[in-house]
Symmetry: C3
Subunit: 349 residues, 3 copies
């Protein structure tokens, strides 16, 4: 069961060049994305109301798209404006149109009730578009249920074991516990790791003389958005768990969108505020992030295939944020559907 | 649900050379096809009654086929005539035999009650074998439900959008409406398109000075047989919608046979009555037809994957023949099964 | 439905070198196999109790294995001995451990109730490890239900048709009937074939002057273990169906283990007591066996795909051992589950 009344990231802005028809599965529905000549992003059901052919095999005509099976033409609101060979157009001739907002490089789509779509609820991903931050856009397709990816992002103790040579670097990481606070639409997680060797990932872009203090502060928001301030500074240069001027800093934005129950879209970037003109640093960051996220993908897809839905999972202390977020997520789903989230087998209870 | 009491095309005659065991799925049943030494086509269930191994992995022995798992031997009527190691053959030892008729290059099979099989009901596909007509045999396997292919053949307005550079040539095609009449076992469709540029397909095999009048006259018969007279003539050389002496003419035969609910066999040819000795014209016709039918396949397979069975399709004016034929087809299914055709989601209602 | 309280072969010993984590599906459960530093084979559920990630993607640490998702560590009994970041380990933190016995090159696993596992019940496969016998280890993965493979091994009349150029050599084979006796845990099959040309397989490793008498004596035991003494001797040199000194002899051991209902593991070897130092004979035997077993695989996998579960199979005389063994097998399943074996469609009744 999916949460419908929420904003989901469905594309990077550059995935929608002028003239392109992009088909993307979202919450198990086929969605057509394109841009009107004045640059506005449009999202329609990618299924002609006539005989269900995909509109993404069709033809853009100005603001409209024409189905190239029998020629029905639809405007950006999804209304059919032409049926070849007949002047009267049935009032029911229409495909669904989704509210879409483009902001800070991401295209957000609202699969729920259109009149509840409020762009003010879109999380602030300023670092993706700010001139003070630099990033490369990332995208992966997962063969796994989206909630397993959310779980992964809610417990960074996995950095110790999944990412020893990239994002992690020390198993001490798993011995620390983050501070977790409940937000209205998710959780706020703060984790410090003091007096450790720099992460392999950090060492490639910055030279530290000795040990460092590392931190990860993030909000994790329904339906699956991570906004993170993370970094490292020479040990003791900030007050423990306090300020950190002159540190190595990143402002990552990550978004998980269910394609269906078995596959997911994962959009991400790791903006930095240093070496803004250094393409070599771009490549180094993206290479390490890609390696690390492939490590996640390997274990999460294996987990997805391996789950026994008849056997409960065993909660441990490190699951605190994961468990809190699952409860919050389930309460959102319950309030919109009147029933509890059904893929309980995935949940630790 | 399939219509069982009907003749289906299951092979071109040349697909059954002497000594060959051909396995072909028909109406979701495995069928073994072969030829006896005197040239008669035989169709048996491709599943040994002993342990269900495919007989198509067996060995031809005269008129008979031997299962090469444990050696049971079956005659053309499906009766088991030998069980290694025992003299008594159980009376129930037999596989199903299907009535088969070979006519005009096509092998027709009757999957229904054998005593209802009447070869006189086989449609007249004379142009496939007449010395006055020349053709190349065509076959395609579709990953789509057969009824979607029938739908496609029942509405040629799709030529405008699916085949602009091959069979179509002008979107005016979709603005015309054919005349549709009900037949006992299907529909008769007649469509004229006057005063247009010649189709790309026609231009490659004939030189027209100016615009042409084009026509498509066809019977479309249960369970899925198209018999079509089509062509083009210089504009006005025939009385409008009237005779057409000296025209470019084709007599196409096409047959769709369900392999299962998800895949289909498509047999086709486009016989012509000109340039009977010109192999270059053969190639040109077949190349264009192959390109065009691959265009159909692309959109129909995409449609098959994209259909939402919980969402009704929207009928438009161009669906007239399609809708009539679906009613006729469903009445045939209903009369043999006592219930209405079940894959309603595919149907426009 | 599987028989759980039985010993199954799950690996050759050399498939478990030191330091290796081997994942193998057994009775539709993921099993992790590894060796402790002192060489003892261990089998655990290949699914961490925390979030169900596969332990086979983990890390060996001494006797233990650590899940490399969030770091839980398990000892050879399956007990969790470490949870990163917390001192208290929940009493329920454990994965299933399976009884394992390594004997004569094979690793046997007991998927049923551990307290019923009695190593004395493991069949005697001495020829796999005896200095008087020489063999090469064989393994195949089947895309077929395991019971179809058992059926195949229970009726050697198939040698006549499936293996004419390898193990068979004459269709007379199918005209003979073996002697079949019931054992406590299976059947004893004895078959003689007198006065025939040597099998192609035999001719490659031994030169016979004239015709031979061939025999196959085997016990076939629940859940799917074949122990066979087979061979050939010049016609008449032994009393018919009697002793056979100076014969060409093999002592084959074969074991079928269900991976799931659709796939199976097949372990086999064909030890000989001659040319013990001749590597060329090794290769010749293994090449012929591999060719022959690929012939079995082809027909059995085709049979598996072709079975119509709504249509009963037809028993013939050659099915005697097969039918007896199926009854015995089903009685074992019934006595442990209280219900009759469910995949009846596979059974001849």
């Amino acid at each position: 069961m999916f949460l419908r009344n929420a904003w989901y990231v469905v594309a990077w802005d550059h995935e929608l060049p002028a003239g392109k028809l992009l088909s993307r599965r979202v919450l198990d529905e086929p969605v057509l994305l394109y841009r009107t000549p004045d640059g506005r992003a449009v999202a329609l059901a990618d299924r002609c109301c006539h005989r269900h052919a995909p509109l993404s095999l069709g033809r853009l005509e100005g603001d409209c798209v024409r189905c190239m099976y029998h020629g029905l033409k639809f405007d950006p609101s999804g209304r059919c404006v032409e049926v070849p060979g007949q002047s009267r157009i049935p009032s029911t001739a229409a495909v669904r149109s989704y509210p879409v907002v483009e902001r800070n490089r991401w295209v957000w789509l609202w699969p729920g009730e259109p009149n509840r779509a409020d762009a003010a609820e879109i999380p602030d991903t300023f670092s993706l578009a700010s001139p003070d931050w630099r990033m490369s856009p990332g995208y992966m397709k997962y063969d796994a249920n989206y909630r397993l990816i959310l779980d992964n992002l809610l417990d960074f103790s996995h950095l110790a074991f999944v990412h020893p040579t990239t994002l992690g670097g020390t198993e001490k990481l798993a011995d620390t516990r983050p501070d977790v606070r409940r937000l209205e639409r998710g959780v706020r997680v703060e984790r410090w790791l003091l007096n450790v060797a720099p992460a392999p990932f950090h060492s490639k872009v910055h030279s530290f003389a000795g040990t460092v203090d590392r931190w990860w502060f993030y909000d994790f928001l329904v339906p699956g958005i991570l906004l993170m301030h993370s970094g490292a500074q020479p040990t003791g240069t900030g007050a423990p768990q306090g300020r950190h001027s002159g540190a190595l800093e990143f402002r990552s934005c990550q978004a998980v969108t269910p394609a269906c129950a078995e596959t997911s879209h994962y959009f991400f970037a790791v903006p930095r505020n240093f070496a803004l003109d250094d393409a070599q640093i771009d490549r180094s960051v993206m290479e390490d992030i890609s390696t690390a996220f492939a490590e996640d993908q390997k274990i999460i897809e294996a987990q997805h295939r391996n789950i026994d839905h008849d056997q409960a999972m065993l909660p441990i202390g490190a699951d605190l944020a994961l468990t809190q977020f699952r409860r919050i997520f389930d309460s959102f789903v319950e309030s919109e559907s009147g029933s509890v989230e059904s893929d309980v087998a995935v949940s630790s209870k």
